[in-house]
């Protein structure tokens, strides 16, 4: 039996009552049959987190959802995010980290990077410099805790601030976590795809800490559409399936409330059972008032199907 709610578009959406998430395509057996699992061990983290906030020029929703695979193994969520605001420079800082699942303490690496990167960025105003510094710090952190060979994490990050052309951004990424823009014509990947055309899927990644971090950065001069910073738990199905892109478009063309956003991020889809983390930023459009000062308002996106 499924429950329903009326979504932001006014349409009724059916969600799975057991998990409280929306089905998106074939769900497979895992979302329907897996038990809830044990609580985390002492020192562990909570299953899911969510955030809602607003700046003068943007609205933000964030959710990090424990994946079914970790639930099955009684392991904790290994994704993490941070959303921080520097009032002095009016900079919004977003970091999403995906702990490497094969290493037992990767959640601690993800948490560490999410906490340290915003301040490192504000010191240098460079994601490359910030990530290199965070990489070195993570080596020390790991060595002082359970060991460098027991934790690792990817990083994707964005810094948004007012610019002459509107809202500017610098983005950075190390592996397969991604940033997407939802434009009128559909989804657009802002970060480089790792996999090329291979006869067989391999899924390799090089996470921090590493001797030679693979850091890529890009500047965006006018962010005039929603952007989403996400781990591969959502990025991969979005890249692979038009059906996912179409549904996320329907959900995120307007700003959802935080609880609906979490339900949407946790969508049930067969074989996609990893942790899910998405931070969505809906920019406001800047308009000049009659007395010359800027005012920001949310604009409604009317995207076509993907």
């Amino acid at each position: 039996m499924r429950s329903s709610e009326v979504g932001p578009s006014g349409q009724e959406s059916i969600f799975l009552p057991r998990r409280g998430v929306f089905p998106l395509g074939a769900t497979g057996r895992a979302p329907l049959e897996l038990p809830d699992g044990l609580p985390p061990a002492v020192g562990g983290t909570v299953d899911h987190t969510l955030s809602e906030s607003e700046t003068p020029y943007s609205v933000i929703r964030a959710a990090s959802i424990r994946g079914l695979l970790h639930r099955r193994a009684n392991e904790e969520r290994q994704d993490a995010y941070s959303v921080t605001w520097d009032a002095e420079s009016e900079t919004l800082l977003i970091v999403v980290c995906d702990g490497v699942g094969s290493l037992p303490d990767s959640r601690r690496a993800a948490d560490f990077l999410c906490s340290i990167l915003p301040s490192l960025y504000l010191e240098s105003r460079s994601w490359r410099s910030a990530i290199e510094g965070a990489n070195r710090a993570l080596f020390d952190f790991a060595a002082g805790n359970s060991g460098v060979d027991r934790m690792a994490s990817t990083v994707v990050a964005a810094a948004l601030a007012p610019a002459p052309a509107g809202l500017g951004a610098e983005i950075a990424w190390t592996d397969d976590s991604t940033i997407w823009a939802l434009r009128e014509e559909g989804w657009s990947l802002l970060t480089q795809d790792v996999d090329g055309e291979e006869p067989i899927h391999t899924g390799s990644v090089r996470a921090l800490p590493t001797e030679r971090p693979r850091i890529r950065t890009q500047k965006l001069h006018a962010v005039d559409c929603p952007i989403f910073i996400m781990s591969d738990g959502v990025g991969t199905p979005l890249a692979m399936a038009d059906e996912v892109g179409s549904q996320l478009t329907a959900w995120w063309s307007d700003v959802p409330d935080a609880f609906s956003f979490a339900r949407q991020v946790g969508f049930a889809r067969r074989t996609f059972v990893d942790d899910r983390t998405v931070v969505g930023v809906w920019p406001k459009v800047r308009s000049e008032t009659t007395v010359g000062s800027a005012r920001w308002q949310l604009s409604r996106l009317n995207p076509s199907s993907r």
Binding site: A26, A30, R72, H201, P237, A241, R270, T271, F272
Partner: protein, 252 residues
């Protein structure tokens, strides 16, 4: 050999999903006649162990191919929970070449169908089970070389080569199993497993246990989006020794 009937229902597949395909290739030559009850039970237990895990059932597909004089796809590639196992029966000689031809044809078909549905197909893993030596010794290697092998230095051949674990008992030998296991290059070579036990029922159950746990462990890696074939060790006291492709000496 006829083209296998593809039995995955399109509605159970989601575009973008990772599929880890596993092929169980079984010797059903006449020398296996007294073992067929145990073999059928081992296969049933193996499938049940996998289908009891809903995450792994979603991530993996299995197929069963039998061979003697010729080969036949007994179970087309599909989710473990959809498998209906036929009762295998024994008869005929032992021709490895027909088994490899059947596997190659099946995987080409399966892979094309799954990719057409938008799936990402991981490197296939073959579990090859035999109780003896091939009657087409020398020729089956040519078949494998022609259809399935990959040259890691020149990067020529079949880039979608299978990862092969060879299981043998009775008249099989470590040497023949080391030849079957594949690849024989790289950091992750194929594995072979051999039992000299007379307790055929027990050894088949133990081998099926290795296969089942390998499928489950491998499926777990796929669920994290970073698939890898994880070959499990046999249980202690199972009487099974194991080694690596191209090497006759067993691990200690």
């Amino acid at each position: 050999m006829s083209t296998p009937a593809y039995s995955v229902t399109e509605g159970s597949i989601t575009s973008g999903q990772i599929i880890m395909p596993f092929y169980i290739v079984c010797d059903v030559s006449s020398s296996m006649a007294s073992d067929m009850k145990a073999l059928n039970k081992a296969l049933a237990d193996l499938v049940n162990a996998i289908r009891n895990d809903p995450v792994i059932d979603d991530m993996t597909m299995i197929s069963v191919i039998s061979f003697s004089n010729s080969a036949q796809v007994e179970v087309p590639l599909q989710a473990p929970s959809e498998v209906i196992l036929p009762v295998l029966s024994a008869g005929g000689g032992t021709f490895f070449g027909s088994a490899w031809e059947a596997y190659h044809s099946a995987f080409q078909w399966d892979s094309a169908e799954l990719k057409a549905l938008g799936c990402k197909v991981f490197r296939p893993c073959v579990f090859f089970l035999t109780d003896g030596k091939a009657l087409d010794g020398g020729r089956w290697q040519d078949t494998f070389q022609r259809l399935l092998s990959f040259d890691n230095e020149s990067l020529s051949g079949n880039a979608a080569y299978p990862y092969v674990c060879a299981f043998g008992f009775r008249d099989a030998s470590e040497q023949s199993l080391a030849e079957i296991a594949y690849p024989d290059f790289g950091t992750k070579k194929g594995k072979w497993f051999m039992s000299h036990s007379d307790e055929i029922g027990q050894l088949l159950a133990a081998m099926a246990d290795v296969i089942g746990r390998t499928v489950i462990s491998s499926g777990q890696t796929a669920a994290l989006g970073r698939p890898s074939i994880v070959v499990e060790d046999p249980e202690n006291n199972s009487g099974i020794i194991m080694g690596e492709a191209g090497a006759v000496d067993a691990f200690v």
